[in-house]
């Protein structure tokens, strides 16, 4: 079964540092997403990406966040200057229509 692969599985970073979370979506999928889940809270939408550009973003996705699909297979989320409140599980997902396939997530801890 095709999978969405995320690396790293865990990342600890100091406040103010930049982090890049990486994802390899399913190869024939067209839509790519980042979601996050703060511990004990619900899954929240960050951004969607289609045809090499952002198609939708949430109010959480401010200027500190950016996404990129640098080489046709990887999909990255960059946080420029991390804050304590950025600590969460970050999930990448991809879809070809309805119904997403999520990766296993990156647990980001900002200290």
């Amino acid at each position: 079964e095709p999978e969405v692969t995320q690396t790293p599985s865990h990342q600890v970073t100091q406040m103010g540092q930049e982090v890049i979370l990486r994802c390899v979506p399913i190869s024939n999928h067209l839509y790519f997403y980042w979601y996050r889940q703060i511990l004990g809270q619900k899954v929240e939408f960050l951004v969607s990406f289609y045809n090499n550009e952002i198609s939708e973003k949430s109010e959480i996705f401010d200027d500190q966040f950016s996404v990129e699909r640098p080489d046709g297979s990887n999909f990255t989320l960059k946080i420029r200057s991390t804050k304590l409140e950025d600590s969460a599980m970050y999930f990448c997902a991809s879809s070809v229509g309805y119904g997403y396939t999520f990766g296993s997530g990156t647990r980001l801890t900002v200290v």
Partner: protein, 112 residues
């Protein structure tokens, strides 16, 4: 802002019992999806319903989308310990590729 409310938040039952969990909203959704999430893992898609009144079955799981496309239910027959997990509903209001709004989930525990 679209909100999805799931109930109950927690459910603990004995093996062999039947159960129903609910997902309600005041908003109309284009599709409603059900996921199951294990601790430390990403949500895994169980089913997508797109037509008002639609019923889909996945072995012992039955999913229904409300006629007005504002609510959905998940019914499990003869629950087994392997059904233990967090069940999430998620809806989208646009075409395929639009954002999903998630509910907070129902944590199901099936005791042997």
């Amino acid at each position: 802002t679209q909100l999805l409310e799931q109930s109950p938040q927690f459910l603990s039952i004995q093996e062999g019992e039947n159960l129903t969990v609910y997902c309600n909203s005041s908003s109309v959704f284009s599709s409603l999806q059900w996921y199951r999430q294990e601790p430390g893992e990403g949500p895994v898609l169980l089913v997508t319903v797109v037509t008002g009144g639609e019923v889909k079955k996945l072995k012992r799981l039955t999913f229904q989308f409300g006629d007005a496309r504002k609510d959905s239910s998940l019914h499990i027959t003869a629950a087994q310990p392997g059904d233990t997990g967090l069940y999430l509903c998620a809806g989208d209001i646009g075409t395929s590729g639009s954002r999903l709004t998630f509910g907070e989930g129902t944590q199901l525990t099936v005791n042997p």
